[in-house]
C-alpha cells in the first residue's frame, strides 16, 4: 500500500492553534494563505529568492515558501498579522508607515518580518557579511546603515523603496534602544 501523502497537523500561528489536513506538498506559505486565510504573507517567487514570504518560525525569520507545512508542525509561527500589539503597530511597522518604506506594498510584510528579526539577531550579537571583524573579541557590530542593508538583502523590493526601508529599520532600532534604556 502506498504511504499517505497527506497528514493531519496542528499549526501554531500568531498564538492560535489550527488543526488541518495538508497535502505534504503544501508549503507553509500556501497553508497560511489558502487554508488559514492569512494572506498577509506574500508569494513573490515561490523559490526562496525574494523574501516576500518571510515569517518568523520559533522566533527566527524564514522563507515560508521553502518550508513544508507538515514540517512546521509544533513550531511557533508569527506572520505579519501577528506583529502588531493589537491595534498598536510594532515600531517597525510604524516606521515603515511614517517614512514611506514601501510603495506597492507587496514585499512589505516580508520586509517587516525580516526587519523585526534583524533587530533581534543584531541584539544577540550576530555578525553579518558587512561586519569587518567577525571575531567575538571585536564586540557586537554597531547597526550602521551598511549593516542594515546587508542584513535586509534577502528581501527584494522591486519598487526600490530601499532607502526608506533602511531609514525605517534604523528608526525602529533607535526606538527599541530608547525603550530598553528607559526600562533599565
Amino acid at each position: 500500500m502506498a504511504a499517505p501523502t497527506f497528514s493531519a497537523i496542528t499549526l501554531h500561528v500568531n498564538g492560535e492553534k489550527h488543526t488541518l489536513t495538508v497535502d505534504h506538498r503544501t508549503t507553509l506559505l500556501d497553508a497560511l494563505r489558502e487554508r488559514l486565510d492569512l494572506t498577509g504573507t506574500k508569494k513573490g517567487c515561490d523559490q526562496g529568492q525574494c523574501g516576500a514570504c518571510t515569517v518568523l518560525v520559533d522566533g527566527r525569520r524564514t522563507v515560508s515558501c521553502l518550508q513544508l507545512a507538515v514540517a512546521a508542525e509544533d513550531r511557533e509561527i508569527t506572520t505579519v498579522e501577528g506583529i502588531a500589539d493589537g491595534e498598536r503597530l510594532h515600531p517597525v511597522q510604524q516606521a515603515f508607515l511614517d517614512l514611506d518604506g514601501f510603495q506597492c506594498g507587496y514585499c512589505t510584510p516580508g520586509q517587516i518580518c525580516s526587519a523585526v528579526a534583524v533587530l533581534r539577531e543584531h541584539a544577540a550579537g550576530w555578525p553579518s557579511a558587512a561586519t569587518a571583524d567577525v571575531r567575538p573579541e571585536a564586540g557586537p557590530p554597531p547597526l550602521t546603515d551598511e549593516e542594515i542593508r546587508e542584513r535586509m538583502s534577502g528581501n527584494l523590493c522591486r519598487c526600490g523603496a530601499y532607502v526608506s526601508i533602511v531609514q525605517a529599520v534604523a528608526r525602529a532600532a533607535a526606538s527599541g534602544q530608547q525603550a530598553e534604556e528607559a526600562a533599565a
Binding site: 497535502d23 529568492q49 505579519v80 510603495q103 506594498g105 507587496y106 514585499c107 512589505t108
Partner: protein, 708 residues
C-alpha cells in the same frame, strides 16, 4: 457643507499612504488573496521548443490524475477574438489570445491550461502533461547588421530626419561614433500576475492585478464577445506593474476556465513563466553619432535604435526618442527599427524608449564632453534648445538647466577633477558622472464621480490603479483641496471597472489624468451643494469626463526633466562596481505628495542602478529558452546595492494642467544608468557601452587597457 477657513492646502504637503496601515499589517488584499468557495486552480503549460507546431496534447493521463478538472488547449478551448485594437492603440498581446491555433512562435508560448481542485494538483498535472511538437529551428540571431531590420512607427514616427548628416559630420571639429547595447530586461513586479475569474449574476467578474481596469475590461469583453457591462474587473491593490500588467495570459485563462467549468478559477503566473508571459524590455543595439564644433555645439546628431520583436507582433522600443527632445543640431537623424525573431513580444517597461535610449545618448554626450575638453554640464548648457529639435514646438516648461545647477551645487560637482582614474579609496577607484533625464508629460481622458455623503464626508470613485505610485493618496489630496475639506474626510475608491472609464497607470500619466477628472467632478459637486442644506441619505453625486478638456490641450513639447548624479567605486582587480551615492534633481510638474513622490523618484533611480549594473535576462542561443529564469538568475538590485540616494525637485508646475502636474513615475530611471556608466569611466578611464557593467566586463576592460 462645512468649510474650515484656516484649511491648509493638502496638495504639496507630505501625507502617509491612505492604505499604508493595511499594507504594513498585511490586511491589504491583492489579486490572489481573495478566498472563494469552490475555487479551482489553473496552471499554465508553456512550450518547451523555440518554434514549431503542436502535433498532439496527451490530455488522457493528466485528466486521470487526482483533482484534475480540465485541460484546455488549442484543440478544445473556446474560440475567442484577437483581431481588434485595444484602447492603447495596439492589438492584444499575442500570448493572451490563448489556445486559438497550433503554431508556436517562440519558447514559452502558452500551449495548455490545467485546472484542478488544489494548486498542488494543478502543478503536478501541468508538469506531467506531455505535448508533442513538430520542431523548427528558431531564428534568434540579434545583431546590428541584420539585413531585415526595418523602421516601425510605434507611438512615435519611426524616422525623423532633417539636414545633411554626412556633410555636417564631415564639417565637425569633434565626432563621437559609438555603438551601445542594452540587454533584455524584465519588469518583475514583486506580485506575480494573478487573476481569479467567476460568473456572478450573469456577469464575468475578475479579481486581477493590473494597471487599468478599464483597459482590462474592454479587452476581455471584446475577446469573449461580451457586452462591456457584462464584465467587471477589480484590482484594489496591485503589487507593482512597471508596464507589464495589462491583459496577459492569466486573466484570459482564468476567464476561459471559469466559463468552461462554471466555477471560480484562479490563475497565477510562476516567476519562471513571467520570463515568457509577462512581457519584457527588448534588448537594443544603438548607434549614436555626434558631430560638434570646437566649442561643443552640436552640428550633427544621429541616433539609431534597433530592437528585436517577435514574429507575431511588432513592438518598437523607441530608444531614439529622447534625442528628438533633448538636443538640436543642423543635421538631426533619428530612427527606431525592429527585426522579427522567435522571441516573446516585448512591451512597455518603465520609461520605454527613454531608459535604454538615454543610456546611449547621455553616454555619448559624456564622450563628446571628454573629447571637447568641456565639463559635461557645460556641454549640455551649450546645446540647450529653445524649441523642440524635431517638432519645432515650444516647450511647456523646460527646467533642465535649473536641475543641473541645483544638482551640481548639492553634489559638489565644482570640486570634481575632470581627469579619469585620479581618485582612490583603498582597493576602489572612485569616479563621478552625470546625465540628463526627460520623459513625456501627458494625460488621458478619464471619468470620475464624487459624492457628498450625508455624514459630511466625501467619496471619490474613479477607475484608477495604485500600483505603488501613491495615486490613491495623491487623488485624496487633490480631492480634499477641490472640495475645500481635509484629506481625512475624503475616501477614495479605485481599481473597479464599474467606476467608469479612466486612464491607465502608465506613461507617467495616471495621477495627472485622474486628478484632472476628480478635480472637475469635485468642482461640479461644490456648485451643486447648497450651504446649510441637508444631504439626502444616498448623498449627492457629481460626475466628470475630461475627454474634451484633455483633447483641447494645445500642441507643445511637454516633458518632465531631471539631472542625475552618481558616484561609483570600481575595483578593477575583481570587476566589482558599487554606487556610493546618487542625487537626482527633477523638474516634473507640481509635486502632489512630497513623501510618496520622493519614493517614486528614488525607485526610478534604483532601477537605474539595477539597469546599469545587474539586470540582464539570458536566453539559450539555440532554443531561445530563458536560462536561469528566476530571481537568483535575474538580478535586480537589493538593499546592499543601494546607498543613500537623494531625490529632490525644483518648482515646475505645468501651466496647462489644472493641478500643475506633469508626471513622475518614469523620469527617475531616465539617465540614471548613463550617470553610473559615466562615473565608471571617470573612475577607471574606460568606457562601458554595454549594459550591465558586469564584473567580467570590467575585468576585460582593465586587461584591454593594460595591453593598449
Amino acid at each position: 457643507m462645512t468649510t474650515t477657513p484656516e484649511l491648509r492646502q493638502a496638495v504639496g504637503t507630505a501625507h502617509t499612504r491612505v492604505e499604508g496601515r493595511d499594507k504594513v499589517t498585511g490586511a491589504a488584499r491583492y489579486a490572489a488573496d481573495h478566498p472563494f468557495t469552490e475555487l479551482a486552480h489553473g496552471w499554465l503549460v508553456l512550450s518547451t521548443v523555440g518554434r514549431g507546431r503542436i502535433r498532439a496534447v496527451d490530455t488522457g493521463p493528466v485528466l486521470a490524475m487526482p483533482g484534475v478538472l480540465t485541460v484546455l488547449h488549442h484543440g478544445n478551448a473556446p474560440r475567442i477574438r484577437g483581431d481588434f485594437v485595444t484602447m492603447l492603440g495596439v492589438p492584444p498581446e499575442p500570448t493572451s489570445v490563448l489556445f486559438q491555433h497550433d503554431r508556436v512562435p517562440h519558447a514559452g508560448w502558452p500551449v495548455a491550461l490545467v485546472v484542478a481542485e488544489t494548486p498542488e494538483q494543478a502543478r503536478e498535472a501541468a508538469e506531467a502533461l506531455v505535448v508533442h511538437y513538430d520542431e523548427e529551428p528558431p531564428d534568434l540571431d540579434f545583431r546590428a547588421d541584420r539585413g531585415d531590420a526595418r523602421p516601425v512607427d510605434g507611438h512615435l514616427p519611426a524616422v525623423a530626419e532633417k539636414g545633411d548628416l554626412e556633410a555636417e559630420l564631415a564639417a565637425s571639429a569633434v565626432v563621437v561614433d559609438a555603438e551601445y547595447t542594452t540587454p533584455e530586461e524584465h519588469h518583475h513586479p514583486m506580485e506575480p500576475h494573478a487573476a481569479a475569474a467567476r460568473w456572478e449574476d450573469g456577469r464575468l467578474e475578475v479579481l486581477d492585478s493590473n494597471q487599468g481596469s478599464t483597459w482590462v475590461v474592454s479587452v476581455l469583453a471584446q475577446m469573449f464577445s461580451l457586452d462591456p457591462g457584462a464584465v467587471r474587473v477589480r484590482s484594489e491593490h496591485v503589487g507593482g506593474g512597471f508596464g507589464s500588467k495589462g491583459v496577459r495570459a492569466h486573466q484570459v485563462a482564468a476567464a476561459m476556465a471559469a466559463t468552461v467549468l462554471r466555477r471560480p478559477v484562479r490563475v497565477v503566473m510562476t516567476r519562471r513563466q513571467m520570463f515568457s508571459l509577462a512581457g519584457h524590455r527588448s534588448p537594443t543595439v544603438q548607434r549614436v553619432r555626434l558631430g560638434a564644433d570646437a566649442e561643443g555645439r552640436l552640428r550633427a546628431l544621429e541616433h539609431r535604435c534597433l530592437n528585436p520583436t517577435s514574429t507575431v507582433q511588432d513592438f518598437v522600443e523607441p530608444g531614439a526618442a529622447p534625442a528628438r527632445v533633448m538636443y538640436d543640431a543642423a543635421a538631426h537623424h533619428t530612427a527606431n527599427l525592429v527585426v522579427a525573431l522567435n522571441r516573446p513580444t516585448p512591451t512597455w517597461m518603465r520609461a520605454p524608449g527613454e531608459a535604454p535610449g538615454s543610456f546611449a545618448l547621455e553616454s555619448a554626450l559624456d564622450e563628446l564632453a571628454e573629447q571637447c575638453g568641456l565639463d559635461p554640464i557645460e556641454l549640455r548648457a551649450r546645446n540647450e534648445p529653445t524649441h523642440g529639435p524635431v517638432s519645432g514646438l515650444p516647450f511647456s516648461g523646460r527646467n533642465l538647466l535649473a536641475c543641473f545647477r541645483e544638482g551640481a551645487r548639492r553634489f559638489g560637482w565644482a570640486e570634481r577633477d575632470p581627469r579619469p582614474g585620479r581618485r582612490r579609496d583603498g582597493r576602489w577607484l572612485l569616479g563621478t558622472g552625470t546625465a540628463a533625464a526627460s520623459f513625456p508629460a501627458g494625460a488621458g481622458p478619464s471619468t470620475a464621480a464624487v459624492t457628498a455623503e450625508a455624514d459630511g464626508t466625501f467619496t471619490v470613485r474613479i477607475g484608477a490603479a495604485d500600483i505603488g505610485t501613491g495615486a490613491r493618496t495623491a487623488i485624496t489630496l487633490v480631492a480634499a483641496d477641490a472640495l475645500r475639506t481635509t484629506p481625512e474626510r475624503v475616501r477614495v475608491r479605485i481599481g473597479d471597472s464599474d467606476f467608469g472609464p479612466a486612464m491607465i497607470a502608465g506613461g507617467s500619466t495616471g495621477t495627472r489624468s485622474w486628478a484632472w477628472a476628480v478635480r472637475a467632478a469635485a468642482a461640479e459637486l461644490r456648485e451643486r451643494l447648497v450651504p446649510g442644506a441637508t444631504i439626502p441619505p444616498q448623498g449627492i453625486t457629481a460626475r466628470s469626463d475630461t475627454t474634451e478638456a484633455v483633447g483641447a490641450l494645445a500642441a507643445a513639447e511637454r516633458h518632465s526633466f531631471g539631472a542625475q548624479f552618481a558616484e561609483v567605486a570600481v575595483d578593477t582587480a575583481t570587476g566589482e562596481v558599487r554606487v556610493r551615492r546618487m542625487l537626482g534633481i527633477f523638474a516634473a510638474g507640481r509635486i502632489v505628495n512630497p513623501l510618496t513622490a520622493r519614493s517614486q523618484f528614488l525607485g526610478g533611480m534604483v532601477w537605474g542602478i539595477s539597469m546599469a549594473l545587474h539586470e540582464e535576462a539570458v536566453r539559450d542561443p539555440s532554443s531561445g529558452v530563458p536560462v536561469g529564469a528566476d530571481l537568483a538568475g535575474y538580478h535586480v538590485a537589493t538593499h546592499a546595492d543601494v546607498p543613500l540616494l537623494e531625490a529632490d525637485w525644483i518648482d515646475d508646475p505645468d501651466p496647462d494642467d489644472p493641478v500643475g502636474i506633469k508626471g513622475i513615475g518614469e523620469v527617475g530611471i531616465v539617465g540614471a544608468a548613463a550617470a553610473v556608466a559615466n562615473a565608471v569611466w571617470h573612475a577607471t578611464g574606460v568606457r562601458h557601452r554595454d549594459l550591465p557593467i558586469r564584473p567580467d566586463r570590467v575585468l576585460r576592460a582593465a586587461a584591454e587597457a593594460r595591453h593598449a
